[in-house]
């Protein structure tokens, strides 16, 4: 499964899917925490507090781009 597909799948567990990968995420803070921890577990990475920004988590595209910097 690609990173993009994994992000979509994990996001679908905690929030409604956005119309496109570039669309802003409609996700509340509690769901965002769940998403961050799911990504950490799935990809064996660690996300720091300062990395949880709109720039890194504002859309599926942004998350995928951010995760590429962690690999």
């Amino acid at each position: 499964m690609s990173t993009r597909d994994r992000v979509r799948a994990l996001l679908a567990e905690v929030a409604d899917a956005p119309a496109t990968d570039a669309a802003p995420l409609a996700i509340d803070s509690l769901a965002l925490v769940q998403l961050v921890e799911s990504l950490e577990d799935a990809l064996q990475i660690r996300v720091a507090a300062k990395e949880v920004t709109r720039e890194n988590f504002g859309s599926i595209d942004a998350i995928v781009a951010f995760l590429e910097t962690k690999s």
């Binding site: 925490v33 769940q34 921890e37 507090a49």
Partner: protein, 346 residues
């Protein structure tokens, strides 16, 4: 981080007794939802690991809880009010903005002319109070009451999903006394990072934004968590870094620590902390299911419960660890002795 290393002094400082007090009123997740909370009971349990919390009754205030905890701590220490050199109350939910909550406790305990004052360090409150009490004993005080008490239930907006279910009320106290060098506390580390002042805060009611009809209508007197995910992750990072730095300063490792008694913001944070510190889960004391986050009092309440219930032996090393709004963080390592354990279990 500022570290107080007790080995550098001629006298030691120990906890002569520890006690806690919780209000009688139990608020379950079902109760909370019935009151209008914006989360379901299942969501609260899943997201925070909290089943219930204690809330004060109508008319009950922070100083009432603090007084009960201090009174029990004195009883367990076989001391009276006349023996108290100083009273420190850590709180971010004072009875009134002025005077200090400590002065209300002082009146209730009839502490004569002993100095009394508040410290505000949010969820790190007890560790900050313990640091100040320890320094007072090092400079000549005999017995200092270090108390932390909070009533956060008065500052909740039940429509706010990020904060409505997390907080309980309660108080904890310790009698901090002199002892032979090498016994009791080994060290205390404290830090603050003001970049987090708006992470978890009450927007109105202070000098920057006094209470008005508009601030009340906007619910600006309730706790706000502006960046929940960052706060969540920062709490873990703060506790992990603070604990590691204190251990390093004291020449210790996690294998030397028998029990970690952390602040209890929610179960998920504690589980993440265990993973990051790479310590066995059973090395961490957890009571968040029944007590929830009691802000600065959490560590003191947890320490009292741990001393009473955990399988601690004479000489065991316990670390208190907290991080909170501000940001603030703090940790303390103490050697438990059989006298403290016996007094806790009275």
């Amino acid at each position: 981080m500022k570290v107080l290393t007790l080995a550098n002094f001629d006298r030691g400082v120990r906890l002569r007794s520890v006690a806690s007090y919780l209000p009688a009123n139990i608020v379950t997740n079902d109760d909370l939802v019935a009151l209008g909370a914006a989360l379901s009971p299942d969501e609260i349990l899943k997201l925070a690991g909290i089943m219930e919390r204690r809330w004060v009754a109508e008319g009950e205030a922070t100083s009432d809880l603090a007084t009960n905890a201090c009174r029990l701590a004195l009883t367990r220490a076989d001391l009276t009010s006349a023996d108290v050199s100083r009273l420190i109350v850590a709180t971010v939910s004072p009875d009134h903005s002025s005077p200090s909550t400590a002065c209300f406790v002082h009146r209730a305990l009839a502490l004569g002319h002993a100095p009394a004052f508040d410290v505000a360090a949010s969820c790190t409150g007890f560790v900050y109070a313990l640091d100040t009490a320890t320094r007072a004993v090092l400079t000549g005080d005999d017995h200092v009451l270090a108390c932390a008490a909070d009533v956060r239930s008065r500052f909740l907006d039940l429509s706010d999903r990020a904060t409505c279910a997390l907080f309980g009320d309660g108080a904890g106290a310790a009698v901090v006394s002199a002892c032979p060098r090498g016994e009791g506390l080994l060290g205390i580390g404290l830090l603050a990072d003001g970049t987090g002042v708006h992470s978890v805060y009450v927007p109105a009611g202070g000098s920057r934004s006094p209470a008005t009809h508009a601030t009340v209508d906007a619910r600006h007197h309730s706790i706000r968590m502006s960046e929940g995910p960052q706060v969540y992750l920062a709490a873990v990072e703060g506790m992990a870094e603070t604990s590691e730095r204190l251990l390093s300063a004291l020449g210790l490792t996690w294998s030397d620590i028998d029990l970690l008694v952390p602040h209890q913001p929610n179960r998920r944070i504690l589980e993440r902390l265990v993973r990051i510190l790479r310590i066995p889960a059973e090395k961490m004391f957890i009571n968040v299911e029944r007590i929830a986050n009691v802000s600065g009092a959490t560590c003191a309440i947890a320490l009292d419960q741990a001393l009473r219930a955990a399988p601690l032996r004479d000489g065991a090393l316990v670390m208190l660890l907290a991080a909170g709004a501000g940001y603030t963080a703090g940790a303390a390592v103490l050697r438990v002795d059989s006298d403290l354990l016996a007094r806790a279990r009275r």
